[in-house]
């Protein structure tokens, strides 16, 4: 069995699982929206979670500041997992070099705000996203003709090329990296400084929510359907009129843009980057986040990203064995829940209950050739 086949078995959806999501969407509109609002508010209160009695004990990270963990790692990983989920989960393209796009985003901010220019962070972000997207298109155009394992190998190479090029190019700071990167501008009471990490968290969370909003729109459109069709059976999709190459390239470009966006947040927060921040291992960890959470399920990706970012910090108590404990935890999840924590679900066609034939008369009349 090839690598990508093995991988595909991980992306099978669970059947007949009535998740929390279904229960929520069956509620009346008002209670549904209040629940969603409540959930979002509680997310914004995350920096204070350690002070809540039981929850605090559960989530707090001994030895590291919880606030630091959620701003430096969790929001970044969640955003990255969301982007990677488009490529891997929706379109079914195994991308093992995703860290490359993340690095491109971070480096564009570094170059434009410190190394070669003094542009403000906010100006750098759209440029960085555009450049990452372009990198996705440049990588995708020749390689998306490949399938399965071959695509995985090429993307793996891409990630390494970006890192090694950054290491060798003096105008990118070489192995010393780039320091004094611009930080996000202060917004009212939110001061982006060294002392308080919370503003970065709020910024990251807001970016995630906006990303989720737009990704949902894509998922529920012709684009999302085309991606799913490509993942399920690329040849059949093409023969049913799906321009598979175009939609695969879109998946790659959108994934790359989100990866780059995560890179800009990272650069704006740590304000110092060097090539060793973007190792191959990170690509693998990003894939692990998506698979652990539930490939093809956006909420799964969010949870997976959060868990992969947070868990090693939670286990700091195990000192030098913490990565081992983290690894065992990942293996256990994969053994007992191979579809991930929140598996992809068969789409619920809610509108079906209310669907009525729009034309009167028997059904035969509707199918003739226009």
């Amino acid at each position: 069995m090839s690598l990508s086949d093995t991988f595909k078995t991980l992306t099978k959806p669970a059947h007949a699982v009535s998740g929390i999501g279904d229960k929520i969407s069956e509620l009346p509109r008002v209670s549904r929206w209040s629940l969603v609002a409540l959930f979002i508010v509680s997310l914004y209160l995350m920096p204070w979670w350690p002070e809540v009695p039981v929850l605090g004990w559960l989530v707090d990270t001994p030895g590291t500041s919880f606030e630091g963990v959620i701003t430096d790692k969790v929001v970044i990983y969640v955003l990255v997992a969301l982007g990677l989920n488009v490529v891997v989960g929706l379109a079914g393209l195994l991308d093992l070099g995703y860290v490359g796009f993340y690095a491109v985003g971070a480096y564009v901010v570094g170059v434009l705000s410190s190394q070669h220019a003094n542009l403000p962070w906010l100006v750098c972000v759209p440029i960085a996203v555009a450049v990452s997207m372009l990198a996705g298109v440049i990588l995708g155009t020749p390689t998306l003709r490949l399938r399965g394992d071959y695509l995985a190998i090429v993307t793996l190479g891409f990630g390494e090329i970006i890192r090694i090029s950054a290491n060798n190019a003096d105008w990118l700071g070489g192995s010393r990296g780039i320091s004094k990167i611009a930080k996000p501008p202060n917004i009212g009471p939110l001061k982006f400084g060294i002392l308080d990490a919370k503003p970065y968290f709020f910024l990251g969370l807001t970016v995630i929510l906006i990303t989720v909003f737009f990704l949902r729109r894509l998922e529920n459109s012709r684009v999302g359907r085309a991606w799913n069709a490509v993942r399920e059976d690329e040849d059949a999709a093409e023969l049913m009129g799906v321009h598979t190459f175009k939609f695969k390239l879109w998946a790659f470009a959108i994934g790359a843009a989100i990866g780059g966006l995560a890179g800009t947040l990272y650069a704006g927060k740590v304000r110092f980057i060097n090539p060793s921040n973007f190792p191959l291992q990170l690509s693998i960890l990003f894939i692990a986040a998506v698979v652990l959470g539930g490939t093809g399920n956006m909420w799964g990706a969010v949870l997976g990203g959060a868990v992969v970012a947070w868990m090693p910090e939670r286990f700091r108590g195990f000192a030098d064995k913490r990565v081992f404990v983290f690894g065992v935890a990942l293996v256990l999840v994969m053994v007992f829940r191979p579809q991930g924590l929140i598996p992809r679900k068969i789409r619920k066609e809610r509108w079906l209950a209310n669907w009525k034939p729009s034309q009167s008369g028997d059904a035969d009349s509707g199918v003739s050739r226009g």
Binding site: P13, R225, A226, D233, L239, G241, V242, E349, W355, R369
Partner: protein, 265 residues
Amino acid sequence: MQTAGCPVADTILSVDNVTMQFGGVTALSEVNFGIERGEILGLIGPNGAGKTTCFNVITGVYAATSGSVTFDGQPLAGLKRFQITKRGIARTFQNIRLFPDMTAVENVMVGADANHKTSVGGALIGSRRHHREEREGRDRAMELLTFMGIADRAGDAARNLPYGYQRRLEIARALATGPKLLCLDEPAAGFTPAEKQELMDLIRKIRSQGYTVLLIEHDMSLVMGVTDRIVVLDFGKVIAMGSPAEVQNNPDVIAAYLGVPDDAA
């Protein structure tokens, strides 16, 4: 009897001198035939005769080694597979190839999307066209599922549908692309005689809606009962062409396809 090669005004698809070689193997050799608009043409032949290869050449899966395929007055050479579908040729598969984890109605909507234009931009801003096309796609999909008699399981994953439903779902998905020519590759494989009869009626009904149908089929009774004309392939060559009755009594066909004369009926 020989209609191929001569450009009749109403020939929707013509296959001219198509040869298809895979390395040293010649799967199709100088194949010539045409399909008239509005007819049901049967393509039959023993196993390995080249029927599915012929299908694959028509739908662009393979590029013919030599010869050409003309559809609706335009050559198909050089077109991508999805472009051929958009021109108006849709197909089903010998081995069912649905999108297993998508619902039945979603499967059909993918087909309907061949006529739609919404892309990333329109979906992101939730354009008016996006909403209109979603609504149209749903209506079209439900109409086709109703037409095929499988609308009761519209919300189920394709993988969970019974075999007969899956076969019919493939036809619904192909019809959703809005084809002028519908190519069915052994649509009745694995069916009981009663189901085959039902399918025959359905194919006739599809034709009466104005579609042209190209049908590959093993089951002689189905082919004889439903087709207007039949093309017989054997070892990659057209050995006979004509009405079911003509083909049925053609000694070459009897020899090649049916083996012993007694089985001809």
